[in-house]
Symmetry: D3
Subunit: 65 residues, 6 copies
Amino acid sequence: MPIVNIQYIDSITDHQKRQVIEQVTEVMVKVLNKKPESTYIVLQQIETENWGVNGQTVSDRRNNN
Amino acid sequence: MPIVNIQYIDSITDHQKRQVIEQVTEVMVKVLNKKPESTYIVLQQIETENWGVNGQTVSDRRNNN
Amino acid sequence: MPIVNIQYIDSITDHQKRQVIEQVTEVMVKVLNKKPESTYIVLQQIETENWGVNGQTVSDRRNNN
Amino acid sequence: MPIVNIQYIDSITDHQKRQVIEQVTEVMVKVLNKKPESTYIVLQQIETENWGVNGQTVSDRRNNN
Amino acid sequence: MPIVNIQYIDSITDHQKRQVIEQVTEVMVKVLNKKPESTYIVLQQIETENWGVNGQTVSDRRNNN
Amino acid sequence: MPIVNIQYIDSITDHQKRQVIEQVTEVMVKVLNKKPESTYIVLQQIETENWGVNGQTVSDRRNNN
């Protein structure tokens, strides 16, 4: 029954999505004894101009570096 | 004052969006005595390759069936 | 497969929780053709001093009225 | 270490994004003594047909006014 | 920079929390090449009367079985 | 209409809560031209054993330092 919401920046491949979903589900199953069929994983990519850290957008931080 | 965040897969029509918003608001009003004007409903469609269940992406599960 | 996160203030009875879960699930089933067994509803009560509207906490607004 | 998720309607400029991120981070730093480098701000624009208030979508409310 | 929000029912031990945090972080690092120090994991336990599935609260489902 | 969800560790005073709500609302009003009365701010404190960074719980990191 766990719900895992993952927010991240920078696009990832379908293969990476599969791996994240497979491996995070495995953690829920092995560590928390959850059923895989009732474990939901939601992936949300956030654009770098929509993610702030240290008071700046990630895109600005990258441009300034 | 309730905030209702709804994450779902598969696109839905504007008509369905209106119905969900109208009917879920009605539940907040009738069951929880909330004011409709202060009830927020947020709909977020998640792509099937970004939603995992049973350790797989929904798109892979559908392709494999 | 929908996930419905509901944040609200003011405690509600177990009966009200049942009604909200039952009726919101029904909306997902009837309007969006979702399966009830794969529809998750999560209820989160937020204390009135932790919810702000109009630049004030709800508890302050109530005390000032 | 705070995470600030901001959901809003109507697109905003990159300049506004920068200001929101800068100023909200400043609040976390000044009021809550958090470190700016560990303060995450996530901006999520929600389309007006996906945001409901008063039992209607925002887009319908605007069309009806 | 990923943020992983995990909602689950049934209390878990501190040891399990450590394992989930360690192993989910490892997935972010190995699969998505994220830095561990910028990977946030947030665990939120939801009471069984506040989690609905199949139109019922989890606590009712358990009592009825 | 913005919704601002703020997750943080370490308890804060009611005064700090008021300041955060007041000042973050002000940012929404001044920068994004939002109405204060339709701006929701939700504060959620997360226990340090429920927040992971760098693969560890915050409480463990603090105990090890």
